[in-house]
């Protein structure tokens, strides 16, 4: 017993004779809740992903109705997996490991519960509002402003609870896993707030505070760091805690883990612009993003090696221990994804990979392999401990592991193959110097078999995850009735007493005390001082953000203005909101890169000055359909009516969903005036007259378009339907720079 206490207090025995013992009750009930939520939402998120995979392979699967088309479900899938599955897994890890590393119960049970239920409430709100089409469209930041405010509140409660637990700790030193948690909590808060700054136009609608290239820059600074600080750093904390636990040996190199931590915190924050290569982002920003991304490769591999080497001498345990199997494959995927990421950030590679399914393969190597398998490993390790009984079936867990692994491999191989095929076909020229595949659909049909392989891989992964659910359920059923909190005894921290003493002594003794502390090195001083540590982390991430973002926002010549680019007409603005609501951005980009093949296929490349009225930007990140940046004037209105009603009527093998309701649903102009007013507030040069007459202007333009459709032989009476607004918007896309003169004051 004595030795245990010595180890707990971290001091050699004897030097501290007055060791008192304190009793700590860890809150495991909250961990159980988060584990269950992780599994339930994980299955939901994966199921939605599976539906999406089927929709791309077989378009009739979009026929579930207006709320369940590909465009509306895709953000539901990404949000569910990122925030509900990975998010709850992170919280389970944080609540379990922090209490034990700090030798303290969470500061407040009420706050823990509020955090749990608040977070689940946010998820439910997302599951309802996203299919309804309430979205800010920025990837992983789709949720509208009221939900964002609640998210902020819940996050703050979580943070306060966490930091007050830190303050109550009985262990002076903060283990590296806690550093990763601290960095995650702080950075996610900063990212969330900055990227979600919007001006509401209604209860669930808003315009971004940023426009065009600025909006894109902020979005991908956010998007990339959401990957870093929600899907990487907390999972590294998870790894550094649960891997040594499961292997029953300390991490291979603690020094390496420190390097790993600081490099990631310092470097990751800069890498965001690699999502915007060859766009109208200024060249310097995209180069900074590339350089820092390449720098990330080394610390990431340091972390992977640290994880894998922790198992040195324990590899035999892998044979029958599913937990370690999951961890090893998870960490291997971490290494793979963090090698591939820097590679994809190299501009020449990115020219091929961007907008293709290669990116989809990359994120799923990360999400299914790294996040998924680390989560399942942790859950299988936790189940017997949280439910105080043996895992129901280790064999089932092993089956899960193998099916899941095969599922991931099928998935990513299919998507690599699809992505590279797309990339090569889009850029292929024949010997006469013309595009080899001018019809975009050719490049879609070519990858259809791969879409089916993805469905297979995804189904396997989903099915294997249900096995985890069964295992948890059956274990929980045979759990003892009394799942009371575990109670441990730890030494009363001597350093706390010393602090109390130190505060009462005179100046001389205080100086001696400080000298004593410094003898142990300032780094130790720091880590015993979480507030300062947290501030340092904040400084580290802010410098990267500010150096990148502020010049972009301030310096005018980053966005050369184009005289002929004018604000959208009221009807076009409404059409744009329909485009946003239907999630067209999840299949269509609006950003033509200055590459020969793209200019040939789509027209003049996109300029930064064209987006100055785009709030939010709609550049997109994936081309399942063709780019639409220069769509205006390409087809007559009637073509669009037919195409939206049934894309197969104009493009026989199209996989785009049909949108027949656009022809029947009435156009709601109720908030058009408000929208113009908010735009004016944001500096868009509408006149007060235009805002006052917004509805009249919209109706007049709608009437004109409806008349042309009828003249072209289409259906009559569309002037008050949503389709006319959408057509007005689509016909406006990319035409302003072709004008000699700015469009007249007519609209």
């Amino acid at each position: 017993m004595a030795t245990v206490l010595e180890e707990v207090s971290g001091r050699p025995g004897g030097s501290n004779p007055s060791t008192e013992i304190e009793t700590v009750r860890y809150d495991d009930a909250i961990v159980r809740l988060f584990v269950m939520a992780t599994l339930i939402w994980g299955l939901v998120g994966m199921l939605v992903g599976l539906v999406l995979a089927v929709q791309l392979a077989w378009w009739p699967a979009n026929g579930l109705g207006e709320y369940f088309t590909y465009g509306r479900l895709r953000p539901l899938h990404t949000n569910a997996v990122v925030f509900a599955f990975a998010g709850n897994a992170v919280f389970a890890a944080v609540y379990y490991s922090s209490q034990r590393l700090l030798k303290a119960r969470m500061f407040s049970d009420v706050m823990s519960k509020f955090h749990f239920w608040g977070w689940q409430g946010i998820i439910v709100a997302a599951a309802i509002t996203l299919p309804m089409g309430y979205t800010q469209t920025k990837e992983y930041a789709e949720l509208e402003w009221p939900i964002d405010i609640v998210t902020t509140l819940v996050w703050v409660v979580f943070a306060v609870n966490f930091f007050l637990t830190l303050r109550n700790r009985r262990e002076k030193h903060l283990y590296v896993a806690l550093w990763f948690y601290i960095a995650s909590i702080i950075t996610v808060a900063v990212l969330h707030i900055v990227n979600n700054l919007v001006i509401p136009t209604g209860l669930f609608t808003s315009f971004s505070m940023y426009a065009g290239v600025h909006d894109a820059m902020i979005q991908w600074w956010y998007g990339h760091n959401a990957v870093a600080f929600l899907l990487t750093t907390p999972f590294l904390g998870l790894m550094y805690y649960f891997l040594p636990k499961a292997a029953d040996r300390p991490v291979f190199s603690y020094r390496l883990s420190i390097l790993h931590f600081w490099s990631i915190v310092f470097i990751y924050i800069w890498a965001g612009p690699h999502h915007l290569h060859y766009t109208s982002l200024p060249e310097w920003a995209s180069t900074v993003g590339m350089v820092f991304s390449i720098m990330l490769w080394m610390p990431s591999w340091g972390g992977m090696i640290n994880g894998l080497f922790t198992l040195r001498g324990a590899w035999h345990k892998l044979r029958d221990e599913p937990v370690l199997k999951f961890f090893v494959v998870g960490i291997t995927f971490y290494g793979m994804a963090t090698f591939e990421g820097p590679m994809m950030s190299i501009k020449t590679v990115n020219a091929l990979s961007h907008y293709t399914d290669w990116t989809v393969a990359h994120v799923h190597a990360g999400a299914l392999g790294w996040n998924g398998f680390m989560t399942f490993g942790m859950i299988y390790w936790l189940i017997p401990r949280l439910w105080k009984t043996k895992l129901w079936s280790t064999r089932l867990a092993n089956t899960h592991f193998w099916l899941g692994t095969i599922g991931i491999l099928l998935y990513i191989i299919a998507m690599y193959s699809a992505g590279i095929t797309q990339g090569l076909m889009w850029r292929a020229f024949d010997e006469t110097g013309r595009l080899m595949y001018p019809d975009f659909m050719e490049t879609v049909v070519a990858i259809m078999p791969m879409y089916w392989v993805r469905v297979l891989g995804g189904s396997l992964y989903f099915f294997s995850a249900t096995l985890c659910g069964v295992n948890l359920f059956m274990t929980a059923r045979s759990a003892p009735k009394d799942l009371s909190d575990p109670v441990v005894q730890v030494a009363r921290p001597a350093w706390r007493d010393r602090q109390v003493m130190a505060s009462t002594v005179n100046y001389d003794e205080a100086l001696f005390g400080l000298q004593d502390k410094l003898k142990h090195g300032w780094h130790r001083l720091l880590e015993g001082w979480p507030a300062v540590f947290s501030v340092l982390v904040l400084v580290a991430i802010s410098v990267g953000s500010i150096v990148e973002i502020v010049p972009m926002l301030l310096v005018r010549n980053n966005v050369p203005t184009i005289a002929t680019v004018m604000p959208y007409s009221p009807l076009e603005l409404e059409g744009r909101d329909i485009y946003i609501k239907e999630g067209c951005v999840s299949c269509h980009t609006q950003m033509i890169r200055p590459l020969r093949s793209e200019i040939e296929r789509y027209g003049e490349y996109s300029k930064a000055g064209e987006g100055i009225y785009d709030r939010p930007h709609l550049w997109g990140s994936k081309r399942t359909g063709p780019d639409l940046a220069r769509l205006g004037g390409k087809y007559p209105h009637l073509w669009h009516v037919r195409h939206m009603e049934d894309p197969r009527s104009t493009s026989p093998s199209s996989i785009m969903p049909s949108y027949p309701w656009l022809l029947t649903k009435s156009l709601d102009l109720g908030s058009t005036q408000k929208k113009l007013e908010v735009m004016m507030m944001l500096g868009v040069p509408y006149t007060i007259d235009q805002a006052d007459q917004a509805i009249d202007l919209a109706q007049a333009q709608a009437l004109e378009i409806a008349r042309e459709i009828a003249e072209q032989g289409g259906p009559e009476g569309l002037e008050d339907k949503e389709i006319v607004a959408l057509i007005a918007y689509m016909q406006r896309l990319g035409i302003d720079i072709k004008r000699e003169q700015p469009r007249g004051a007519r609209r």
């Binding site: 034990r100 600081w262 109670v487 090195g521 410098v543 010049p551 301030l554």
Partner: protein
């Protein structure tokens, strides 16, 4: 207006200073980690393995 002011305020120097501090702190941290004493890093690395001494439930229950 706001942009004109900010552009002419000569703020670029702050970004450069920030960058220098950034790199300096980073280098210091790395040196510190590399030079950390072996016993200390070993002690730290064992932290997750110690949960405290588990007490049998009936010992503490009322």
């Amino acid at each position: 207006m706001r942009k004109d002011i900010m552009e002419h305020a000569g703020l670029a120097i702050y970004a450069e200073i920030a960058l220098i501090i950034f790199v300096a702190v980073f280098v210091m941290i790395i040196l510190r980690a590399i030079l950390m004493r072996r016993e200390h890093s070993q002690f730290l690395s064992r932290m997750p393995l110690e949960d405290g001494l588990t007490v049998e439930q009936d010992e503490v229950s009322p």
